[in-house]
C-alpha cells in the first residue's frame, strides 16, 4: 500500500525548494547559536588540539 502511494506521488519538483527552506531555517538557527556562544567556551574549544599533552612526544620539535 505504501509503495502504491509513493508511486502516484506528485510535485516532486517542489521537493528541492522545500529542502532549501528547511536548510535555510536550520542554517539561520545554527548561525544564531554560534553567535550566541560564550567567548570563553569558543576560545577553549578552539585550543583543544593544543591541550593534549602527553609525557613523551610533545617535546619533540622539528629541526
Amino acid at each position: 500500500m505504501l509503495r502504491d502511494i509513493f508511486k502516484s506521488i506528485g510535485g516532486t519538483e517542489n521537493f528541492g525548494m522545500v529542502s532549501m527552506i528547511i536548510f535555510v531555517l536550520f542554517f539561520v538557527v545554527l548561525v544564531l547559536h554560534t553567535l550566541l556562544m560564550r567567548k570563553k567556551d569558543v576560545d577553549d574549544f578552539s585550543r583543544m588540539p593544543l591541550d593534549d599533552f602527553s609525557k613523551e612526544s610533545d617535546d619533540i620539535q622539528d629541526v
Partner: protein, 719 residues
C-alpha cells in the same frame, strides 16, 4: 579531580602509516602505467590483466581506499586518542580494522585484474568483498564511537564531528549503492537499473569524494594544522557552521555528474543548485584553515609540514571552486567526458589528500619514534617536486580537455562535423598525455624521496608503542541538558545523539532525490520497442562490463547537435530500463557506443569489423590507442551461467517469459551461429561459442530498440 594515567596506542598508528606509504607507491605506479598506455598502448602487454579497463579500477581504488584510506586511519587513530584523552576503545578492533582493510585491498587488486567487477566506478568490488568492507567499516565505527564514549574530555572537538559524519555517511552510501543479487561468487547484478542505477551510483560516487576524501581530511586539518602551527583554530564558530552546512549540502550534489543525461531535469537542477551552494561551506573551511596560520606564516617558509598543509588546503579551495563551476550546465557541456574531470580529480587527490597525508606523516612519525625528521631539506625537495608534479599533471589535461571538447563541437561552414573521426580528437592530445605522465612521474619521485626520508627517520628514532598520558576522569554530567545549555552544546557531548543528528542531515538529501525517482513511475517513461537483452547479448554485456569498456566509452548521447550528428539520437531514460548495471561511463577516450548497432547509423560497423578491431585495433587504424582483446577470440563463453543470469534478471523485474531460463542457451546458440556464419561469409572462421561472438552480439544491439521506435517521443509512455 585526580589524574588518571593511560597509554595511547601508537602501534596501530604506525601500522596504518606504513600501509599508507606502501599502497601510495603501488596505486600511483599503476596510475603512471595507465598514463603511459595513452602514449604507448603496447604497454597493455597483450594480456587481459594489464589492459586499461582492468587496471584503471586498481589505480582508482588503490589511491582512494588504500593510500588515502590508510592515511585517513593513520590520522584518525592518532588524533582521536589525543582529542578524547583516551586509548582506543579496543586493541582487538583496531587490529581487525587494520588487517581487514589490507585484506580488502589485496582482494580488490586481484579480483579487478581478473575482471571481477560490478562495472560501477569507485564501487567496482563484487558482493562478497562489499560485505567484508561493510563489516570492517562497522568495526572502525564501533571502535571510534566506543573511544568517544570513554573519553576524558566533555566537549567533542570539531575534528571528531567530521570523523563521525564520515563513518555514518560512508556506511549508508556503501550499503545502498552495493545492493545487488548474486549470480555467482564473483558476479552480481545491482537491484537498480538504468537511470535509477546511474543516480544511486553518482549519489554514492560524488559522496565518496565528499565523505571519504573530504570530511575525514577536514577533521585531520582541524587537528593537525593547529598542532603544526601551534595556534588555536581561527574560528570555532565558523567550524560549526562549516560542518553542518557541508554535510547537509554535499549529499545533494551527486546529479551534477549526470547533466544533459536522461536523468529527469528536476534531479539535475537540484544537483546544480546544491553544488553551487557548496562553495560557501567549502571555502569557509579553507579560510578557517589558512587563517589558523595567522602569525605563523614566517614558519611556513622553513617548516615542510606547514608547507604541505598550505598547499593541501589551497588545493582543496581550488577543487571546491572548480567542482561547482563544472557543475553549471554551460561549463559541464564542455568539461564532461573530457580530461578536465581527470585534472580536477587529481588536484583534489594529489594536492588535498596526498599533500595533507604527507603533512600528517611528517608530523607524527618523528613523534611516535621520539626523534626529529631525518632531513628537512629532503622533505622540502619532496614538497617542490610534488608541487611541480601536480602542475605538470593538471595543466596539460585542462589544455587537452578544452582542445578535445572544441574539436568534438566544431562544424565546417557547410554544416558538417569538422572532425568526424573521433580518433583525430585523441591523437591531437598525445603531447598533453606525455606531459601528464611526466607530472605523475615527478609526483612519484617526490613520494619515493619522502619514503626514504621517513625510513631514515624511523631508523634514527626509537619507537614508542605505548605513549603515557594523564587526565582527570570525565565528570558525569547526565543525559539531560544542563541549565542554560543549548541543544547544540548538549549534542557536542553526546556522541550517539550527535551521530543520529548527522545521519538525519545526510539522509534528507539522499531520500528526496532517490526515493521519488525509484518509486514515481512518471520519472522513467517507458519505450514500447525497448526489449530485454537476448541471452547472447546479456553474456556479451557481462564481458563488456568485465573488460571495463565503460572506462573509455560512454553510452550516453547528450542532446547537442555535435553529438547527435556524430552518434545519432540523444539518450532517453526509457531505453536503459533493463540495464543492470548502467554503463553510461564518465570519460570518452573512445567514441560513445550507445548507437553502435543502428544499421545504417553513423556509428554502424559490420560484424567482421568488430572481430578485426578486437583482434588487433591497429590493423584498422595505426593511430588507435585501443588495446587488443584477442583473448575474446580464444576463450569459450561460459554457458553454465546463462540460466542463472536469466533467473536473476527475472527476479529484478526484467520480463523474460516463465521458463525462459531453460531454453536460454538454445536461443543463445541460434543467435551465435548466425553471427558466426556471417563472419564465415567474410572469410573469418570462429566458433559460435567464443566470447567474441557474444561481445559482437551486444555491440550490435546497442541503440537498435530506440531506432526501432521511429520517432521516439511519439512512443514514449509515462504511465
Amino acid at each position: 579531580m585526580e589524574n588518571q594515567t593511560f597509554y595511547y596506542d601508537n602501534k596501530i598508528v604506525k601500522n596504518f602509516a606504513y600501509a599508507t606509504l606502501i599502497w601510495g607507491v603501488v596505486g600511483m605506479v599503476v596510475g603512471l602505467l595507465l598514463a603511459l598506455q595513452f602514449i604507448w598502448p603496447a604497454l597493455s602487454f597483450g594480456i587481459p590483466y594489464t589492459t586499461f579497463g582492468r587496471i584503471r579500477p586498481i589505480h582508482t581504488n588503490a589511491v582512494i581506499f588504500a593510500f588515502v584510506g590508510n592515511g585517513m586511519f593513520t590520522g584518525i587513530y592518532y588524533s582521536l586518542q589525543r582529542l578524547c584523552k583516551a586509548r582506543m576503545f579496543s586493541d582487538l578492533l583496531s587490529k581487525i580494522n587494520f588487517w581487514g582493510w589490507q585484506l580488502i585491498i589485496v582482494l580488490a587488486a586481484v579480483t579487478f585484474a581478473f575482471g571481477m567487477t560490478t562495472g560501477k566506478e569507485y564501487a567496482e568490488l563484487e558482493w562478497p568483498i562489499d560485505i567484508l568492507v561493510a563489516v570492517i567499516w562497522i568495526v572502525f565505527g564501533w571502535n571510534m564511537i566506543g573511544t568517544i564514549i570513554r573519553r576524558r574530555v566533555s566537549h567533542i572537538y570539531v575534528a571528531i564531528w567530521f570523523y563521525i559524519a564520515t563513518f555514518v555517511t560512508i556506511a549508508v552510501l556503501h550499503v545502498t549503492n552495493s545492493l545487488a543479487i548474486p549470480v555467482g561468487l564473483f558476479k552480481s547484478y545491482p537491484i537498480y537499473a538504468g537511470v535509477q542505477d546511474a543516480l544511486v551510483q553518482w549519489w554514492y560516487g560524488h559522496n565518496a569524494v565528499a565523505f571519504f576524501l573530504t570530511t575525514p581530511f577536514l577533521g585531520l586539518m582541524y587537528y593537525f594544522l593547529p598542532k603544526a602551527a601551534n595556534r588555536p583554530v581561527y574560528s570555532y564558530r565558523l567550524s560549526i557552521v562549516h560542518f553542518w552546512a557541508l554535510i547537509f549540502l554535499y549529499i545533494w550534489a551527486g546529479p551534477h555528474h549526470l547533466l544533459y543525461s536522461a536523468l529527469p531535469n528536476w534531479a539535475q537542477s537540484l544537483g546544480v543548485v546544491f553544488s553551487v551552494m557548496l562553495i560557501a561551506p567549502s571555502w569557509g573551511g579553507m579560510v578557517n584553515g589558512l587563517l589558523t596560520l595567522r602569525g605563523a606564516w614566517d614558519r611556513v617558509r622553513e617548516d615542510p609540514v606547514l608547507k604541505f598543509m598550505v598547499v593541501a588546503v589551497t588545493a582543496y579551495g581550488m577543487s571546491t571552486f572548480e567542482g561547482p563551476m563544472m557543475s553549471t550546465k554551460s561549463v559541464n557541456a564542455i568539461s564532461h567526458f573530457t580530461d578536465w574531470t581527470i585534472g580536477h580529480a587529481h588536484i583534489g587527490a594529489l594536492g588535498w589528500n596526498g599533500f595533507l597525508t604527507f603533512a600528517v606523516l611528517y608530523y607524527l612519525i618523528p613523534r611516535i619514534f621520539q626523534t626529529q625528521l631525518f632531513s628537512r631539506k629532503m622533505a622540502n625537495l619532496h614538497f617542490w617536486i610534488g608541487t611541480l608534479g601536480i602542475i605538470f599533471y593538471a595543466v596539460p589535461l585542462y589544455w587537452g580537455a578544452i582542445t578535445q571538447a572544441s574539436m568534438w563541437k566544431e562544424f565546417t561552414e557547410a554544416g558538417f562535423l569538422k572532425y568526424p573521426n573521433f580518433l583525430e580528437t585523441v591523437t591531437q592530445l598525445r603531447p598533453m598525455y606525455a606531459a601528464r605522465a611526466i607530472g605523475g612521474g615527478l609526483y612519484i619521485v617526490g613520494i619515493v624521496l619522502g619514503i626514504y626520508n621517513l625510513i631514515l627517520t624511523v631508523k634514527k628514532g626509537k619507537f614508542l608503542p605505548e605513549e603515557a598520558a594523564a587526565a582527570p576522569a570525565l565528570e558525569n554530567t547526565g543525559n539531560s541538558r544542563g541549565s542554560g545549555e543549548g541543544i547544540h552544546r548538549w549534542l557536542e557531548r553526546r556522541p550517539v545523539q550527535f551521530t543520529i543528528f548527522a545521519l538525519v542531515a545526510i539522509l534528507i538529501g539522499g531520500l528526496i532525490e532517490i526515493v521519488p525517482l525509484y518509486l514515481v513511475k512518471t520519472n522513467i517513461p517507458t519505450i514500447a520497442s525497448v526489449k530485454p537483452y537476448t541471452p547472447l547479448e546479456l553474456q556479451g554485456r557481462d564481458i563488456y562490463v568485465r573488460e571495463g569498456c565503460y572506462t573509455c566509452h560512454s553510452q550516453q548521447v547528450r542532446p547537442f547537435r555535435s553529438e547527435t550528428e556524430r552518434y545519432g539520437e540523444y539518450a532517453k531514460a526509457g531505453e536503459y530500463v533493463y540495464d543492470h548495471p548502467f554503463q553510461w561511463g564518465s570519460k570518452r577516450n573512445g567514441p560513445d557506443l550507445s548507437r553502435e548497432g543502428v544499421v545504417n547509423g553513423r556509428q554502424y560497423k559490420p560484424n567482421s569489423w568488430h572481430y578485426n578491431h578486437m583482434l588487433n585495433p591497429k590493423l584498422l587504424n595505426e593511430q588507435t590507442i585501443m588495446p587488443s582483446y584477442k583473448w575474446l577470440i580464444a576463450d569459450d563463453l561460459d554457458l553454465t551461467t546463462t540460466a542463472r543470469k536469466i533467473r536473476v534478471m527475472q527476479t529484478l523485474g526484467v520480463p523474460y517469459p516463465q521458463g525462459y531460463d531453460k531454453i536460454a542457451n538454445d536461443e543463445l546458440l541460434i543467435q551465435a551461429t548466425g553471427i558466426a556464419n556471417d563472419l564465415k561469409s567474410q572469410g573469418i572462421q570462429v566458433e559460435p561459442t567464443k566470447e567474441i561472438i557474444a561481445m559482437i552480439a551486444y555491440l550490435q544491439r546497442l541503440g537498435k530498440d530506440v531506432h526501432a521506435a521511429g520517432s521516439p517521443t511519439a512512443s514514449i509512455s509515462g504511465k
